[in-house]
């Protein structure tokens, strides 16, 4: 299971508390994790990546294993620690603006 941590505003929208666990079929990438997330929580569609272009929203960042993965390819494999559930995939609102 893939562990995903959402920012507070998106947890409220999705009506969830704490960390999420997602079953991701096939390779574990940003795209497949976000596909699974939006399939389970369709109210999040458009809030993390654009509906049409599927590009990450500018003020959203992706962190994992103490690395910033925001600018990695959406189809690049996520670290093994994320794929095995040892570490969470963090979806974070950019710090700008406070």
């Amino acid at each position: 299971m893939i562990r995903v941590v959402l920012p507070a505003h998106l947890r409220t929208l999705a009506r969830v508390d704490g960390e999420l666990k997602l079953d991701v079929k096939g390779p574990v990438t940003q795209r497949t994790v976000l596909d699974a997330l939006e399939a389970h929580y369709p109210m999040l569609r458009g809030t993390i990546r654009d509906h049409v272009t599927q590009q990450r929203r500018p003020f959203v960042r992706f962190f994992a294993c103490e690395e910033d993965l925001s600018h990695e390819s959406q189809d690049a494999p996520l670290p093994d620690a994320v794929a095995t559930g040892a570490e969470p995939f963090l979806i974070v609102g950019a710090m700008a603006g406070g």
């Binding site: 399939a39 569609r45 993390i48 609102g93 950019a94």
Partner: protein
Amino acid sequence: MSKIRLLVGTRKGAFILTSDGTRRQWDVTGPHFGGWEMYHLKGSPAEPNRLYASQTSSWFGQIIQRSDDGGKTWHQPGTPPGEPITAPDGSPKGESNKFVYDSSPETGKPLTTHQWYDGTQHPWEFKRVWHLEPSLNDPDTVYAGVEDAALFVSKDGGQNWQELSGLRSAKGHLWQPGAGGMCLHTIVLDRSNPRRMFIAISAAGVFRTDDGGKTWLPANRGLKSKYELPDPDAEVGHCVHRIAMHPSRPNVLFMQKHWDVLRSDNAGESWHKVSGNLPTDFGFPIDVHAHEPDTIYVIPIKSDSEHYPPEGKLRVYRSRMGGNEWEALTKGLPQRDCYVNVLRDAMTVDSLDPCGLYFGTTGGQVYSSADGGDSWTPIVRDFPAVFSVEVQVLS
């Protein structure tokens, strides 16, 4: 006795204020959607407990919220509480925040460009919903004015949105953003003619449709923008801040422009200035008394670069002559050291007699008047900056 419900959108959430018809004691609920920018909330005239709300964030984009019980509970249309969040075939539901400009070959409206601040062309990019205008007779039909300026409609209660892309054909390449962005902020429906609608855009001007939104024409003759446009009388490009109409007299429109207060007596075919003796004719909101079609209200702001009341005195100005002759309404409003602004969607009137008025400030106050503006009382003093105020009279 009638009940009053105020829908207040702020920079950090939405609030609902209720009172009986005396409008003296108020109950406050909220914040709803705490921490989000709530640009606008409005109830359906056809079903008053049906409310629509624009919830937005620079971080997480646009959300549409709907309430079917007068604001007690909310949901994103397409994902009602208690219902499965996926369609029977497993595909996701919840398309209500999907605002995609129409670039389909069928409509022949390729998404072109508009003018940027520096005069170069810039692609259209959706940012947020500024204004929601529910249909006058169908609770499931609602219009959305968005940034970058365009008009969308939903006919299924806010779940799916389609652009009325004919609007962009009205010289969209000459539209440009004002200081707040290039936003479609005003939607005025005509009770006497369901095919007619007016919209206003900063900075493009007023546009009118007579065929239900398929085609649009600029309605800006008479507007002059000497310091904002190379051609002061241009057909489009004017920074219109707000327009208002009395439902009994749909051919008469009032306008608060960037500078100038204007009036049209022929459904926007031409406009003439009615600023008269106002201390400054810069401002954002304008509204019409519920029972006196020639009584109008504005809140003058010092200038385009100093968005606060002149002399630090918060004054609503009323004209009983449809403009030109104005009186300051000050009783109960701060008359020293006041430097708040009142944004374009942050003033409204109720339909009780005497007519009630309400406005919210960027300083977080919401003021009410139960006597047509003669005297004012703060309902709340310490909200976040107020973006919008709408009122409903409930029987």
